[in-house]
Symmetry: C2
DNA sequence: CCATGTTGGTACAGTGAGTGCAGTTAATAC
DNA sequence: GTATTAACTGCACTCACTGTACCAACATGG
């Protein structure tokens, strides 16, 4: 349900300890995955590099691959919050579109580097796809909220959620891999998929609707 | 490279034996996954039910989950062949579109039942997503073949491949789960994504291009 | 400041997926 | 008929991941 509830407290010494352990585990995991490869890295090594026991690793991450995505939960929560915090009179697809594009615009170079790692390591790509399902569910839920939960609406919502996530993943991973600007392609394809709202003209996108020309 | 080479032979007794073992393994795996659930089924049990040793299972399938998709390779090969066997003067996106819709039209009820199982079992859904990457690569390769391999074309091809597979997966799984007709929604969204070719008017699709109305 | 509950971490034993390797047997090729 | 191949087996091994009992440090409330 993506609880955006504020269950904040003053962080204890214990909280800080826990956070630091988690951070160290993720750091060492990402480092070792990059250096030796995913399969050549054991959880035992990650834990030892972070200075904790193997068992502790699994108190922080459910799987070996999950350590490469330490902030996944927060990012999904943030995404959901942005989706739902828009002007309620804006068309939901427009809202979705602008949240997605904003997210691409604010993707840090370090995060892009992570995407580049992702596309090179199949196991991490799998994990990435798995985590993307949280976004799909968020998007589908958001659309169903506006469209109602008739079977047709649900199918439509899921189809669009899947498509949209597919586009973003592909363009972001290309951006990480080849340094390409993800925004233009994403905006163009999202425009076709979700409709091009008139209030935000796109930069480098043709007027649309002509048979998509070969990009050469 | 999806070798569509004909390396056919007369199947001898050994081939038949191998095929039969593989078939029995897949059958028992699917049965047990459905009856007990994925996690509650061990490879040892699958192998025993099929009357072979545990080791033999892994001579036929690389992972436990793969046994639920025994004909994956052939289906991908078939898909690639259909993609490339079209009229070379047809726009590639139109070709892609009609191959995808044809595939949905020819999805057997038994296969739909499998999709329903998929959407209930998270581990199998993961495996499905993993196998879908073969389709993504096939589609992206097909598009790059027509568009050239400039970075922009590659990004575009990958983005569209991801989106298209996402749509098909969502609609097929909804069709399996709720018995909904996958074709209409797929055709509509693919139409928006890939362009609606004039030579094949769609059934239940609005003229497109107006802001996508709430389906309620 | 002490008693008491809480919690992050550890040690250990276990399950099960997946692999490498060295056979065995039976069909096939020559 | 003999040599070869290939499907299958048995066994030992690695490693991801889990359940459980435990400890030690910290938090909390009087």
């Amino acid at each position: 349900m993506a609880t955006t509830m504020n269950d904040e407290r003053q962080p204890n010494a214990r909280d800080l300890q826990r956070l630091e352990t988690r951070r160290a585990l993720a750091e060492q995991a990402i480092r070792l995955f990059g250096e030796r490869g995913f399969d050549q890295t054991t959880v035992e090594e990650i834990a030892a590099s972070a200075g904790v026991s193997t068992r502790t690793f699994f108190l922080h991450f459910p799987t070996k691959a999950a350590a490469a995505f330490p902030d996944h939960g927060e990012r999904v929560d943030d995404f959901v919050q942005r989706l739902n915090s828009g002007d309620p009179f804006v068309q939901p697809l427009s809202q979705l579109r602008s949240v997605l594009l904003a997210r691409i615009d604010t993707t840090s170079p370090s995060r892009l580097a992570r995407y580049a790692l992702l596309s090179r390591v199949p196991e991490l790509r799998d994990e990435d796809a798995r985590t993307d399902r949280d976004y799909e569910e968020a998007i589908a839920g958001f659309l169903v909220l506006h469209w109602g939960s008739s079977p047709e609406a649900v199918v439509r919502a899921n189809a669009i959620a899947n498509a949209v996530i597919g586009v973003v993943r592909a363009t972001l991973s290309a951006a990480g891999e080849h340094g390409i600007d993800a925004r233009a392609v994403t905006a163009e394809i999202l425009g076709r998929l979700l409709g091009v709202p008139l209030d935000e003209p796109l930069h480098s996108v043709q007027p649309n609707r002509k048979p998509p020309a070969s990009p050469i």
